[in-house]
């Protein structure tokens, strides 16, 4: 039974470590802010969730200590990781960071220009 538990823990923790490594490679290699935030928010969240599930299984199956605080931490990271990525990408767009020159489509641009024109008309009045 201990061997089975160890195999499960090793599998989940290795999976998480691979995803943390993919996050670092993505943040170093990708060309602009938006693709970097795409790499950081998703794969880092999945990696840390998997590592924490491994830690939870280790303390539950091997040391006989059911710890609900880790489950609460996993839930919190699952909710806040993508929200943080979205918020920082939005702030980067509205503060005027240029996208990479190979970007094919920018669907937010006409809407943003229309809003800015309306705001300038309102300020003149």
């Amino acid at each position: 039974m201990t061997i089975l538990a160890n195999i499960l823990i090793v599998l989940t923790i290795s999976f998480g470590a691979i995803f943390i490594m993919v996050t670092a490679i993505g943040l170093i290699r990708l060309p602009d802010v938006y693709s970097r935030s795409h790499a950081a928010s998703k794969s880092a969240t999945l990696g840390v969730m998997s590592i924490l599930i491994g830690v939870f299984l280790h303390f539950w199956l091997i040391e006989d200590h059911f710890n609900p605080r880790i489950l609460l931490g996993i839930l919190f990271l699952f909710i806040t990781g993508p929200v943080g990525g979205h918020v920082i990408a939005r702030a980067a767009y509205f503060s005027g960071v240029k996208a990479w020159k190979g970007t094919v489509k920018d669907e937010l641009k006409p809407e943003y220009e229309r809003k800015m024109k309306e705001a300038s008309i309102k300020e003149k009045e």
Binding site: A24, R36, I51, V55, R69, L77, I88
Partner: protein, 93 residues
């Protein structure tokens, strides 16, 4: 099992060095904020692995605390970048 945990800790620490490279070099401010967010996530997983390594469960409260601090830091930084102030005062009420 001990050697396995050592290998994973070394792996996560190498990723942390890569994220610190992006934090120092990043061309714009949102790059650095994204790197800080990912550094917080990596430190959370290091705390979990370290508490397996020394076989105690007293450090597991730090995971919740670091997650909350990292999220609040990201939201505050992005509001500062977007609007120039963190807490908006509305005097018209």
């Amino acid at each position: 099992m001990t050697y396995f945990i050592w290998a994973i800790i070394v792996n996560v620490t190498l990723s942390l060095i890569g994220l610190v490279y992006r934090l120092v070099k990043g061309p714009s401010v949102p790059d650095r904020v994204i790197a800080l967010d990912s550094i917080g996530v990596s430190i959370i997983s290091l705390v979990g692995l370290f508490s397996i390594f020394i076989k105690t469960s007293f450090y597991l409260d730090i995971i919740l605390l670091l997650a909350i601090l990292s999220f609040i830091g990201t939201v505050a930084f992005s509001k500062f970048i977007e609007k120039g102030e963190i807490i908006e005062r509305d005097n018209s009420r």
